[in-house]
Symmetry: D2
Subunit: 289 residues, 4 copies
């Protein structure tokens, strides 16, 4: 159902489970001439919590765009104790990419944006090293280096936050950025920073997961994309995938094979984000695909 053309609105919502939720939302849309394009709901029976994503056409919808949030809140959201997000496909998602020295994820993301595979814009590439500047220049994307050490970290991150706010960025992608973000930085972009970790979490958290995988003698390796939280590699998981390896594969082979996993697992997470299909709740995600 990714094939619609015109402008649409997307509501992502969650609240305590109770009867009449779906009817209330669909009734609200139907009464105002909103043609539903897709509707996906899920009830977490342990947490007794209701989750929903609904997308409808704006053409002919009785409520003007800028008033939908207010009307929905008053007529539906507050009544059921909902938390919700409202998105419009008319806004092209704006992302910033953080990199260090490895180029494989960066090229992959750039290619997808430039070729039109993703309807999204890369506003800025930020790095703690100069190494990949030449790629940014080739693709004519602004590139800023913030070299980080223990003394200047707080200050440099503050500058990054200001820059990202000034660019009106929707989300941040850590494309193998080898620097741990402070809690303050993370708090400035809650569930808006997507990381790629080069293992199937929760196995092999932290540094050098391919070395650990090699030493443990596993027969599959993986990669995990997740939202960044204050706890390292503990944020809500968006997507994971794995590939078989064998005893023949050296650490160098794992790194090479793993790069292909990292690229595709990160790309799938960004694609879900662009479509507003991820609803994080506590340390998990509901992914409406």
């Amino acid at each position: 159902m990714s094939a619609q053309n015109g402008n649409t609105a997307i509501l992502l919502m969650h609240c305590p489970d109770q009867t009449g939720l779906v009817a209330a939302v669909t009734d609200f849309l139907h009464k105002n001439n909103g043609n539903i394009i897709s509707l996906d709901q899920y009830v977490d029976r342990e947490a007794m919590r209701f989750f929903m994503r609904v997308e409808w056409e704006l053409e002919g919808f009785a409520i003007p765009e800028e008033k939908i949030d207010d009307y929905f809140g008053t007529l539906v959201g507050q009544k059921f104790g909902m938390e919700w997000q409202l998105h419009f496909t008319s806004r092209r998602p704006r992302m910033a990419i953080f990199v260090s020295k490895m180029s494989h994820c960066l090229y992959d993301i750039l290619q997808r944006c430039i070729s039109g595979e993703w309807p999204a814009d890369i506003l800025m590439i930020i790095s703690n090293h100069e190494n990949l500047r030449y790629i940014a220049e080739r693709f004519e994307i602004p590139f800023e280096v913030f070299s980080i050490n223990t003394e200047n970290k707080a200050e440099q991150e503050q500058k990054q936050i200001e820059l990202l706010h000034s660019l009106d960025v929707d989300f941040i992608v850590l494309a193998r950025y080898m620097q741990i973000l402070s809690d303050d930085f993370v708090a400035a972009f809650p569930n808006r920073i997507i990381n790629i970790h080069h293992s199937f979490l929760p196995a092999f958290k932290g540094a050098k997961p391919y070395h650990s995988a090699y030493n443990r003698g596993v027969k599959v390796i993986g990669a995990t994309s997740h939202y960044v939280t204050a706890d390292l590699d503990e944020g809500p998981i968006i997507e994971q995938d794995v590939r078989r390896i064998s005893h023949k594969d050296s650490v160098k082979d794992l790194i090479r094979i793993g790069k292909d996993l990292e690229k595709v697992v990160l790309a799938r997470a960004i694609w879900l984000e662009i479509q507003h299909k991820i609803l994080p709740y506590k340390n998990k995600t509901v992914v409406f695909d």
Copy 2:
């Protein structure tokens, strides 16, 4: 959402796409105190057709079970030109299994039913050979042999149809049954016969797919579960899966590796059928998982 306890009703429906469909269904349920447990919908934008599966609790529902079909038809279904099926989880699905000489799928299905993994009953095992009678006897399931040849085929199949009707069977599983069913037999159980074919269709249709896969030198082999239609191996696909092979694998190896695929791909299709999650339309399936 498979965790509900009490009795529920399930509606599977499809109709030309039009506005207000979800609202109409959810409104019907809500007004009659039906608590929706899960709702899944899909619009095929090429065929401009709407598909939906909704499950709700019967406890407290205002309309008695035996009248739901009538009320839904009058108040919703006919208005929108819907085709629909109504199922109740209080009815344990009843299946018959057709086998020939290979036992792997049969054991697998028996184990799932006996251990309680599947809330379903096997009423009868039917075969064109005596070979697997000892398994049926061990598991105390009725076993009938109908040996088929070109002369007696129509007559034998007629007897099978009568037997299956007398057993009030919901669906039939061809667990590596090596005999082509006639169009008449298939017509007696439309979209109610599930076959497992030992290739990733549409590759390697017909007989000896592992030999063909070996000869072509493919690097993955697969299995496909599908509803049986009058066109051999052309019915709506329910589920498929594959496994990597290499040049080292002989035809014998492919057969051995393939058996594991056949078991699991067939089992997933039956599990979807038991939960009423498959909606066939033309030569495809909508699978609400």
Copy 3:
């Protein structure tokens, strides 16, 4: 290359890496008229260790079966500081299966042996519970219950060891046996006990891995077969596989989906063991497939 018919011998060996190893072994076989059916070697460049599996036809081989071990040792093995195992395909592998209350792996193994898929014998099923006795009886396999508690554990395990020795068992399969084996028991069968753990190790070691996987919100679950060592869930990994899940899957769903992984991952490990294709070294395995 699993298609040979006559009797063959298999040598599994490892030693410090040095020049001339392959030539020495192939020369030994060639000079004695041994026709090599398959040869697989591997050098671990970190450990600087050489691993090899070679299989040859016994028909026409100049050295009688009972003297091969001695001759190989004198002429090749000792010279290079090798550790080696010699197997003959004329010996049908003899296994014992340990179970508790879950039947899915047990049925799967039984089916493979009975149908002739595996050329191996099940000598005995051992359990700490009576629950699955009826299955053993149906398949006419001896079934012994050893109920274990903290007081009698050492004594009961001693009886099990004696029983297993008296049965001349080649290896032991823990088919979801929910009881931790003591170090003494493990030491009695070094690298001869194959366990199936219901997670992709090293993630979710120990009890209730599906609950942990659910709570962590992972998007893939897995299973791992490994040799049992004194460290729980830390033994050399033989085989692993995974399957995608989603937020919709409850713990009950994970358990159901996981059973299919457990069956197939355990079966692949046993199949490798039957063919003498696994060479454990320290905490890893070299798998010659």
Copy 4:
């Protein structure tokens, strides 16, 4: 075993199966002080044909590089009726890439070469369209357009062949080149042209495989890399992989998902080619990984 540093030689060979083959080759290397780094052999028991890949260190090897082919032929190869190829890792593989309008495979290959993941050189990008010239310019790779129509095809291909020969290219990659090569062109580079086809062959040969997959309602899609032969999409398969899809995925979705498969399946084939690990024989490949 891809981790060696110094220069090595690689022999790929096949011949009728007979005793003493492995011993003859290893003896030849051992007697001339060749330290074997890896050895892989395989016997096709249907075709009764022997295949082998052996790699050894050149340092200290008694026979000079330029004489190895001659010596091996005289002392081993001709005796057993072998066909063989000899490669040296000191020669960096030289490739040409053919593209049309889609950029995803091209970027992927460029990134791998530039970042040093692959020790190989791209000599030239050839296209039948101007569209991707800007990418070649950004990466400073020569780009030539040969527009093809029914009249000029033979002539244009002749020019391409001359150009490729003048560049001393080892192999050609068709990175979604949407133009069928003539038999003459293919004959000029036997088993040296690698294509990526966007389906799991033999399913969905020819044009528009994603449309066909959509219309058939398959639940997995795939991609296949293969050597190009005179029969369209019938050449020896090198690598295949698949990904699950659902009824929700439109043709547009399949194209997007498929691109990720195409990139990785083509890249794996090129990586095998660079390492001289593929031995084509008739319409199949032996892949020594």
